[in-house]
């Protein structure tokens, strides 16, 4: 009789526990990372064998809850993690490529200033001596240089921000791996199948899920549920092994990023195959590429424009100088600075200093070369190696440091301090047929090597009897002879007569003087618009920089959509297997409730039987 009571008691207890599991599932239906639990019931076996006086034991000994299981499918979990890694890699690449694209387009776009520069050059060719047109040309030149500087600064900032995000991600990664090691340690102590171990397993999977957003990894789960993590696959270095977590850090490598795992000196490189860090790594290759291309475009503009500009003659009759300067000082305050001082730096025309450092000792400033070979001390402004530094606002604290670097490429391009008259619009040499010429020959002239000692102007080419030509200087010295179509070398120029000159025809060659209105050099500068290098014309080269970002960005977005779709499908499949379905739980609850009620009923019946026996024997 007491057996019935004991059996029913075990039933009531087991079903109450099972109902608790259902209640737990329902309560945690909205908890991220909660895996549906199922309770396993099995017949209870009485320890110590059958009682010796029972001859024919019938029935069992009741029921007991043998364990709580998580309804998890490890393969599906792994699929979701990988898909999640892909989505995050593409998302971060999308974000950073978007930033690079905005740095290259919109207000920073170079196509407009390039087109406007050539437009103003065209105006200059129409009106070579007009000071207003010359001033406009200089303004457009400065605008282009400024746009280059701004784009370069934006790209540098984007790269800096990106590195900052990579650092933050790695810090999170280290936190997660330490958390995982701690969970591993607790799992080791917990009984397998206990509710504690199930909760820890949930926590472990939660950490792994967050880890998968940062890097892709290979995880192994041992019999006790402890996870060991290798990046990015079974052949990579160990991030977490049992209760030890190795520290990870991210370093720039080549154009991208590398994750290094382990203590400094004994660390191993891990390839980044998925997760935010993989996206950041490939974003960095695009940023580096864009910066390099922008620099080479700036160098090309500087080289080409300066070369052609030097060939011309300005309004004062002097040879043209450089149009663009190629260096600009960039001041970076040290991170540890306590003060708010903003320092500006100017570079003297033509100076090319090495790296400098500006420091403040509480009373005086010191501007020194980084190799300590020279320095100046005193109140600002200070000048060293052509760099003038001055404070533009705020105040400095004792010990504040500022690095003064010289920007090159797109960061260094600038308009030289030129007056409108300094723009070399005219060609240096001009040739002209004498008004009395009878033949139809024309003269063409280009730059040549200056002779030593200099010849005396004016220079004349005369057609000799017999069809020969002779180039002579102002005192009758013959500099060169030849035939029509030959280049005749003079002092600083070479001249060619084309067509058929009549005997006695002459051609004068003269240097452009001050205030002359030729436009030869403006036309030569304008021709740079159509001069194609390896990357096409200047406009095409600038288009290419944008296209090299926009095409991968478009592709990244498409791939991101696909990856998100994959991730969602995998997540849904996982949820089907492991999620809490309220309808199922309700059914389960009804079933367990009925079993519970039936067992209570048996207890009641046992009591009634017991009462009946007691009253019968009373």
């Amino acid at each position: 009789m007491s057996d019935i009571l004991a059996i029913a008691n075990s039933g009531v207890r087991a079903y109450a526990r099972a109902l608790e599991v259902v209640a737990d599932n329902v309560a945690n239906a909205g908890t991220p990372g909660h895996v549906r639990r199922t309770s396993t019931l099995s017949p209870a076996i009485v320890e110590g064998g059958q009682p010796p006086l029972e001859l024919d034991p019938v029935g069992g000994n009741g029921v007991r809850l043998t364990g709580i299981k998580r309804a998890i499918d490890l393969l599906k979990v792994d699929t979701v993690r990988r898909a999640e890694g892909q989505v995050n890699a593409l998302d971060s690449l999308d974000r950073w490529l978007g930033s690079v694209q905005s740095a290259l387009t919109g207000a920073n776009a170079l196509d407009k200033p390039i087109a406007e520069l050539f437009g103003s050059l065209s105006d200059l060719a129409n009106d070579p001596t007009n000071p207003a047109v010359r001033q406009t040309f200089l303004a457009k030149t400065e605008m282009l240089a400024d746009r280059f500087n701004r784009t370069a600064a934006d790209l540098e900032r984007v790269e800096g921000d990106m590195m900052l995000e990579a650092d933050t991600e790695v810090r999170t990664l280290n936190g997660l791996s330490q958390g995982l090691a701690a969970v591993n340690a607790q799992l080791r102590r917990a009984t397998v199948g206990s509710s504690a171990s199930v909760v820890l397993a949930d926590e472990r999977d939660r950490i792994l899920a967050r880890l998968s957003t940062i890097v892709s990894f290979e995880v192994r789960i041992d019999g006790r549920g402890q996870a060991s993590v290798r990046i990015p696959d079974a052949g990579g270095p160990l991030l977490v092994d049992g209760q030890t977590a190795s520290s990870a850090r991210v370093v720039p490598s080549g154009a991208g990023l590398t994750l290094r795992i382990g203590p400094k000196g004994a660390d191993e490189a891990a390839t980044l195959a998925g997760g935010t860090l993989a996206g950041l790594s490939s974003a960095r290759t695009f940023i580096t590429q864009a910066r390099t291309q922008l620099d080479s475009l700036a160098d090309r503009v500087t080289d080409d424009m300066n070369r052609v500009h030097r060939d011309g003659v300005d309004l004062n009759g002097l040879d043209g100088g450089d149009l663009f300067s190629t260096l600009k000082p960039v001041v970076t305050p040290a991170r540890a600075n306590g003060g708010t001082a903003r320092i500006g730096a100017e570079l003297a025309d033509g100076a090319s200093p090495g790296p400098l450092t500006l420091g403040f000792d509480g009373t005086d400033w010191t501007l020194a070369r980084d190799d300590a070979s020279a320095s100046v001390t005193g109140p600002l402004p200070l000048v060293l190696d052509g760099v003038t530094v001055d404070v533009s606002g705020g105040s400095a604290d004792n010990g504040d440091l500022f690095r003064v670097k010289v920007g090159t490429g797109a960061a260094g391009i600038g308009l030289r301090p030129l007056a409108p008259a300094d723009v070399a619009v005219a060609a240096r040499w001009l040739a002209d047929a004498a008004p009395a010429n009878l033949g139809d020959a024309t003269a063409g002239v280009r730059l040549g090597v200056a002779s030593v000692p200099p010849a005396i102007a004016p220079f004349t080419v005369s057609a000799l009897p017999g069809g020969g030509l002779q180039l002579s200087d102002g005192v009758g010295t013959i500099l060169a002879t030849g035939a029509p179509g030959d280049w005749l070398a003079g002092d600083g120029f070479t001249v060619r007569i084309e067509g058929t000159p009549a005997e006695g025809d002459s051609f004068a060659i003269a240097r452009t003087g001050s205030f002359d209105g030729g436009n030869g050099n403006a036309i030569a500068l304008l021709a740079l618009r159509d001069t194609g290098g390896a990357a096409g014309t200047l406009g095409e080269a600038q288009d290419l920089i944008v296209t090299r970002i926009s095409v991968p960005l478009a592709e990244t977005r498409t791939r991101g959509d696909i990856a998100r779709g994959n991730r969602d499908t995998a997540a849904e499949a996982l949820t089907q297997a492991s999620g809490v379905d309220l309808n199922t739980e309700a059914t389960e609850m009804l079933r367990l409730q009925q079993a519970f009620q039936a067992n209570s009923r048996i207890i009641q019946t046992a009591r009634e039987i017991f009462d009946a026996i007691v009253s019968a024997t009373a």
């Binding site: 999640e84 009106d127 030729g518 849904e572």
Partner: protein, 304 residues
């Protein structure tokens, strides 16, 4: 950053929400397109279209610069034309005067009056030869156009001091847009128009009819040549103007074509965009409706 996907009974809900979000993103993008009237707002939306748009707008700014160049050259040539006409008038009058002077019955006093008029004509011709453009540069001085190209020296001889060719429409790729060089209109120092007028003055001052008559005949011939030279110059200027006009028309047409091509590349097909917007709105409301029905309660709600 999106939160990582974790096992959870409600994870169909974030997934559904994400799907609806995506539809909303597309609606927002179409809305932006409709508001701006442009097919893409950043190159990544249509890289090849953006590239083509960049090429077209570059072409347009170039055509615009060329147009300015042509306008400037046209104005310079028109001013040249006016100057040449005025020089022509002066030469015609000089020829008339020469013919009058060649008449044997004319008195010495009359010749003096004629000589005075010839001086005025010479000044008029000098003004025409030293005509300036709107920025004050001398039209017929070639590249040396800051100073007057024709200046009378102490002896009264007028020589061309210009050099080479002045600016034309080279920036637009046209080599014939520059005004003619002085010698093409007025000849050289020895036989040119100014020399003829000077010879006319000298002939008028010659008292001896025997010497005067052949001198006047030579001047008449020289003036005829000078006149022909001017007419030729005028024709050249006219041809240059016509060439500039043709080029100007071509550029205007090309700009129109470019604008059309640009509109085709970047312009939004409004009908298609609105149709897509309607379709998206419909599917969004359908998704929302079906979501609320599917996830509306569970068995627990029915348990009494």
């Amino acid at each position: 950053m999106p939160s990582p996907v974790m096992v959870n009974s409600r994870s169909p809900i974030p997934v559904q929400a994400e799907r609806m979000n995506r539809i909303e993103d597309r609606i927002a993008r179409i809305d932006k397109q409709i508001a701006s009237g442009e097919k893409f707002t950043e190159p990544a939306e249509d890289p090849s279209g953006a590239n083509r748009a960049a090429m077209l707008s570059r072409l347009d700014s170039r055509l615009l610069a060329d147009q300015r160049s042509l306008e400037r050259a046209t104005s310079r040539l028109s001013l040249s034309e006016t100057a040449i006409e005025s020089a022509n008038d002066a030469l015609l009058r000089a020829r008339e005067l020469t013919l009058t002077a060649a008449n044997g019955t004319i008195s010495a006093d009359d010749r003096k009056v004629i000589a005075r008029e010839v001086q005025v004509l010479r000044a008029q011709l000098l003004d025409s030869a030293n005509a300036r453009d709107e920025s004050g540069r001398y039209l017929f001085g070639g590249s040396r156009n800051a100073t007057p190209p024709y200046v009378a020296d102490a002896a009264g001889a007028v020589q061309w001091r210009g050099f080479s060719q002045g600016p034309g429409a080279e920036a637009a790729g046209i080599g014939t847009g520059a005004p003619p060089r002085g010698p093409e209109l007025f000849g050289d120092a020895l036989t040119g128009t100014f020399a003829q007028l000077r010879a006319l003055e000298e002939a008028l001052a010659e008292p001896d009819a025997e010497l005067r008559t052949p001198a006047l005949a030579a001047v008449l011939e020289g003036l005829e040549t000078g006149y022909n030279r001017l007419v030729l110059g005028q024709a050249k200027v006219g041809a240059g103007l016509a060439r500039l006009e043709t080029e100007g028309n071509r550029i205007a047409d090309a700009r129109l074509d470019t604008a059309e091509a640009l509109a085709a590349v970047t312009g939004l097909d409004l009908t298609a965009a609105i149709a897509e917007l309607e379709a998206l709105k419909l599917s969004l409301s359908a998704a929302q409706g079906s979501f609320t029905r599917v996830y509306d309660g569970s068995l627990f709600d029915r348990l009494g």
